[in-house]
Symmetry: D2
């Protein structure tokens, strides 16, 4: 163990395999032997150049692996030791900015200390800042979560979309038992939202998708969704109104990408006094057409922007994965080797004709 | 006392004075001798026909007066007696719809029982449902608030805009001592927001207006605003950024009418993790141009629609009025007789050249 | 239908059957034909004279029945009509006191308007204020909840203890999915708490009881409790510490009656930063021995007193009953006729040797 | 600058002056030249041996000073540079325990990484862990707050009791404008609570003390208290009832030490649905006599244990100090040199006859 193989991105749509030296580990940090790294939509945006990165960079911010080396103090503080399998949070916050100090480490403004896996340059020592690699550097500020040894590491990387589901669909809108939630978009985060809402005792779970999402919607039903709607076929507004006896859902969450119409739909659907969670990004240059702010005023809606995930909700996701209550292997559709990173990214984005993917993990 | 003079609206921009009979009062209801009725922007919208009403209707939903007659049970339940001066809430909620039962009576969906002063028809017995009159009917579900006898009733009608300030600028966004708030719009509700934010210990209060709002902005400074900005002259985004050392305000509230650009401005100004309150309506057919929902997501903003006022915040407003801490007579610019209702409405809307008004009350 | 049979309490431990006239129903009120009335611990306290009442009184505050007669306005406001089966809330709040106006109608201080079923005197017109009767008066301020026609009315009366479980064990302490809750006491409210915690996705449910509560603890396991402990046999503190890996539960709720030691136990068990709900009364003359307030300070506990139930949580309970997910007939052990009210009360209190009861309903 | 003079405690009531070597500073840490260190009640408890400490130890956890040396990375992350005057938080949290990860760093359970100033042993490198010294070590996890250069550092140490006032009296019980608060105990934290409640717009501030607290109560009035009561003379329960028109205060906070009766008093005073904050410790072996838990249940009180202070409320305190709105020099009664530490501690505890102190700071 002296080197780590790693996928390095040098420009938009340009990946190459490199051998990189392993860093020295001191008392306060550690090294992870990566067992799997999940891929999400933002990985593809980074690959395609839509998300900025400082090249050269090792992508990958959803890593699971075993502690390969760890300093004494880090072992004590993190409560783990060499050999333990852990899920690694995507962000190592600075701990000192007003957001961090106020408990919102996921909004860290990064005053000089943030490490965001998958986005730091190879030139930022010690370089191993991405999950598409054999080894990953763990700085003092990172947070790791122990995970059951018996769980397939590729499945364990689902702690990311399911953690998002718990924070965005349950914790942020304070979803109560018996309430109705509408989830716009059946991707990883949409399915994670179904799982989280089900666990939280939602009374009715409605999820929407496109015609080509039939397999995802079927899986949503298996996870506990009560009603699935197809945007291109159904009159969503009418169907939701009928399903809620005219009252409208308590919570609506938008986890679609690039669909600006989902924002107005979410606001139109929510009941008087309801909560709307906006978690899907539309591309910074894309305004929402026909946005009537009066509908927020007149219904006294609460509209919540959702970006990151926090400690408690990552923990909830890991406990759900360990419970084996749901057929998560149906959600994790592909495990692929590191050297197929490019194909994996294109497959997730639907660029590989004839093959459908929901969640993919790369394994070294 | 057998009749009540009242201003009756029969069509858009059509008011007339009528004599109407007084109703019988039973054990559960009461009659108010109106001493003053405040006028707000929605009064003008109703007058002009932009807000629907069932004609013929007596306008006026901000009444203050003395209990002229009251049933035994009502006196016991409301804790008031004949002769007491009271502020009357605009809405007598049904008490049974899900919103009422959940404590959000201001969102009452009115399943068969709501009385919204100023909007119920004269044909809905007993007809005296508006404050532009000598007498007002008080049904069992109404809420009244005792107010100090020594306060001028016309000043006391300010409990409405100041109550809105307390709920919208302080209670809803949970404004904390030391926080920075930006208030877009220096009308009655904007000035009410300045007063409420000052009382709640805001660290910095910034308010914006148009060039023609110079007098209102000056009054805002007198009420405690730290910085006033003029939309047509200043670069608001830059000025607010500088005033907050680049961080952005904790809370932004939009109380402008018809200015759709204020919505995007509010969202752009708010700091990461901040709160935006939307309280100004834009007209239902007016979409917000250049609305980028990603800014809500990426900053994890909380956007709150604000429409009504509740019991606790009306009480706060009345206590503030009674405290005489602020020169409220500078905010209440005009007291006018009932038969000048039309002129009062046009004056408030800025349709009377050469005369500026902030707050007007009609007195019988 | 001109009279109603009713059980009337005239003194402590003194019940008699009477025939009482039915009242006139106007546009704003209604009459219920009682189908079942649940009995809870406070019924026994009232029977035994420990709770004050104005004799003569018809006991019974957990009624379920059909609308026998209803005024037009009441039908419109309540959204029900003659023949509908409804659950009736125990309290008809005044709607005007500061608590009611602030949305806490369950804390109504009753300024002249409260109707608390089972405790108002027969001399307070129209007298039919209790559920141990064929008919019950429904005043304008009461709240009724529709319930599925196919549910046995005696089972439907469980909306009371289950509603308490939802408010006390879930809503008040904001129980989150995956959290651990310890429930002290396996009576109706304890079992209701197990059901509510299960629905809300609690990660671990621990419930304690006495040796004689074996059947109740077994039912708790059937409802989803993960661990049951017997106070007289187990070292509760050690067992809970072990079950929570030394950390302590997130939430502890005390629903025992008269066991003052449960208060200190609850405070000792809760984790640092945890929440403790106190819902069991100890008798007003019974102080808690060995109460160390420093433990609340040093662990920064939140201790919440819980007394009433609100609209949303009654609704949750009724939806759970209608779902038929749990064997509630095992919790509702006895359905008894009105003329056995006295035996029913003694049976619930454990005064009938050789027979165990959990929940009992009287049917006319 | 090679050594630091420091007061070292070697046993209960045993202090001595030592010269200690300064540590090497790396890229992630810093050294503070102490300008003043505040003394609070727990300093005396530590001195007297009531609070455990690992001897030898440098006491002092309320330091203010200038950055003497700082690593590049620390300067960047903390946003300060050499020469800046800063207030230093008492606790450098581990950042990894469940409390820290959940944003409650003040409840850090210290899994291997916590540094609590004033309580870490001299043997724990680099030893300079206390504020009673010329220099203080600043580890990577510490939080520092910039403070205006023009403020006397001894006055600036008031950020501790005033920060406690903001968190305990305002933030935790969510004190709203216009609400009534009763503060039991006029010591540093009691006066800090008066200041915070005043800033937050409390409608009525009532504070209690003993006869010997006359000077503190007078200062409380100067800071904005509306009513001061003397426990040995007034009937507190009656006086508070009258001052609140029989309703009871919205919030009661106990900041007395060792007075167990203050706990029951707080619970008795609070209104139905009110909040009680317990922040004064009573000594772990001292139970509260006559503690009736039913009063918490029947009034549905929220009782909150309060121990630490957080980032936002320290900031609020520093902004208040910088505002110069209040005569804080009247609260900070004594500035004393390091070698009089023992006399300062005894003076604060009231052990020096004929001299009264409220707040004392040691300056090197």
């Amino acid at each position: 163990m002296v080197n780590s193989r790693a996928v390095v991105q040098t420009a938009p749509r340009s990946l190459e395999m490199r051998e990189l030296p392993l860093p020295e580990i001191g008392p306060e940090d550690a090294l992870l032997r990566v067992e799997a790294c999940g891929i999400c939509g933002s990985d593809y945006e980074q690959y395609a150049g839509a998300l900025p990165a400082k090249y050269p960079v090792i992508p990958g911010h959803e890593p699971v692996g075993r502690i390969a080396q760890i300093g004494d103090r880090a072992a004590e503080r993190w409560g783990v030791q060499k050999g333990d399998r852990v899920c690694v949070e995507a962000l190592a916050p600075c701990g000192n900015c007003p957001q961090c100090a106020g408990g919102s480490t996921h909004l860290c403004s990064g005053r000089g200390g943030i490490a965001s896996y998958g986005f730091l340059s190879l030139d930022d020592p010690p370089g191993l800042w991405g999950g598409y690699a054999e080894y990953l550097y763990l700085p003092p500020a990172v947070t790791v979560h122990r995970v059951d040894e018996a769980i397939d590491p590729a499945i364990a990387t689902l702690f990311n979309p399911i953690g998002a589901g718990f924070r965005w669909a349950v914790a942020m809108p304070r979803l109560q038992p018996g309430e109705t939630i509408v989830i716009l978009g059946p991707g990883q985060r949409g399915l994670g939202s179904v799982l989280a809402a089900k666990e939280a005792g939602a009374g009715q779970i409605i999820i929407t998708g496109l015609e080509r999402d039939a397999a995802k919607l079927a899986l949503a039903r298996e996870f506990g969704a009560d009603l699935t709607l197809t945007v291109d076929q159904d009159d969503i507004r009418r169907a939701v109104r009928e399903a809620t006896s005219g009252r409208g859902p308590d919570v609506v969450i938008d986890v679609t990408s690039y669909a600006t119409s989902a924002v107005t739909l979410a606001i139109d659907l929510a009941r008087r006094g309801g909560r709307v969670v906006l978690a899907g990004t539309k591309g910074l240059g894309n305004p929402v057409p026909d946005f009537f702010s009066d509908r927020i005023v007149i219904k006294e809606l609460t509209v919540l922007g959702a970006l990151g995930v926090d400690h408690a909700n990552y923990e909830r996701a890991i406990r759900l994965i360990e419970s084996r209550k749901y057929p998560l292997e149906r959600m994790h559709t592909h495990t692929m080797p590191l050297d197929q990173a490019e194909r994996a990214l294109r497959l997730l984005a639907g660029e590989e004709p004839g093959e459908d993917a929901i969640h993919i993990a790369l394994v070294p």
